[in-house]
Amino acid sequence: MHSNFILLLTIFSMIFISCKKEDDFIVTGMKPIYLPNDSLYDIRNIDIQPIVNSGTIYLWQNYLFVNEVGKGIHVIDKSNPSLSTKITFIKIYGNKNFSISDSTLFADNGKDLISIDIRDMLHIRVLKIVKDAIKNDNVFPPNFSGWFECADLSKGIIISWENTSLTNPKCNKQ
């Protein structure tokens, strides 16, 4: 009984493997990494973070703001430019763009506009989220041509793309 089962399993595996070899199109390409929608609005100060994949820079009063693509904003105190130092990180998943007026930070998360009170830089406060106001959803992997897994925005916003092995991808960028 036991050996029969193993035999069956082996046969099935062989069939499966052979099918896969003949029919599946396997290629290296890009796959979207999603942020589930429920973690999207966890916007707050967290400890200073390493600057890894940075974007937009912005100067306001004594602070330099540096976007960490898809993750939030580094805040650097430059009141003494000879000793500039990071003081906090504003966590905003999906963020790429922002601007400041009247002590209010306006930031995106790829789909919403968020206004944030920054009068107390170490204790920021979300004022309003204008949902689905902006679409910068990067459904195509940036600076890339080739096969990629098609984006499915119902899974959440795309925060990054990873290079991986894809089976039967349906999207291709020239």
């Binding site: 937009t56 912005y58 100067l59 430059k78 601007s99 206004s115 004022l127 902006i134 910068n136």
Partner: protein, 253 residues
């Protein structure tokens, strides 16, 4: 003649003083409260309005109430729009194949006025008076298109309906740029930051080159230059442009 000039000057001074005093508590304060962006950005605030590039559109938000910004309009431009710069009643939008000039005389209803077309490439833009400065980078552009020659372009935008290129300078790998008065800083990738004198606006002359950095974007702030590089953030003192001093550096990672 001298008297006449004096009179004009005094009238001018009075007018300026008048405007300064009466705008102190509303717009001027708001303007002072606004920050300054690098040139590679998709958000621009002008007075009580936020303009955001959103895929192929400009989305307009009324931000008069900070705790209740509202989306009031969206205007289709093109899918390849990349950067936005505001300057005196206009928005200048860098696309991968040119610059769109958008009139915001009616701030709630931006109007696409013209497009300056050039070879394809990523291209932030800044504007001073009637002259726009824009970079195009050789190699694979924003839309995987190929650019044959990296350049700094000088574009006459005095007639917003008919912008035209008046000068160009070969560069290595230019990206962000910014100016303060008559000094223009252009990030040129591994070639560092090229500093131009733009006293003659259509004919920039190179006066400095800050080397040893792979420069991406800049912000100028009254003698303080902030540069994002591929691996750090650097602060420089350029109050003496012939003797630019590095003040500090924050490394990535």
């Amino acid at each position: 003649m001298i008297n006449f000039n004096l009179k004009i000057s005094s009238v001018f001074l009075i007018v300026v003083l008048f405007f300064t005093s009466c705008s102190k508590d509303s717009n001027a304060r708001l303007a002072n409260e606004q920050g300054k962006s690098g040139s590679i950005t998709r958000f621009a605030i002008v007075d009580h309005y936020l303009y955001s590039l959103s895929n192929n559109e400009i989305v307009v938000f009324d931000i008069t109430k900070k705790d209740d910004p509202t989306k009031i309009n969206s205007i289709k431009v093109a899918y390849n729009i990349e950067t936005i710069f505001s300057y005196i009643g206009k928005l200048y939008i860098g696309a991968s194949d040119g610059i769109y000039i958008i009139d915001i005389t009616n701030p709630r209803s931006p109007l696409v006025q013209a497009k300056e077309s050039h070879q394809v490439g990523c291209d932030p833009v800044v504007v001073k008076n009637n002259i726009a400065y824009s970079t195009v980078k050789q190699g694979v552009g924003c839309n995987n298109s190929f650019v044959s020659q990296s350049q700094l372009l000088v574009i006459n935008v005095s007639n917003p309906n008919n912008p035209f290129t008046v000068n160009s300078f070969p560069m290595n790998a230019p990206q962000g740029l910014g100016y303060d008065g008559n000094i223009l800083f252009v990030c040129d990738g591994a070639s560092g930051i090229v500093v131009f004198d733009i006293t003659n606006p259509t004919n920039p002359s190179q006066i400095q080159n800050i080397v040893g950095v792979n420069a991406v974007d800049v912000i100028t702030d009254n003698g303080l230059l902030i540069v994002s590089t591929t691996n750090s953030y650097n602060f420089y003192d350029y109050s003496d442009v012939n003797n630019i001093i590095k003040l500090s550096q924050i490394d990535k990672n």
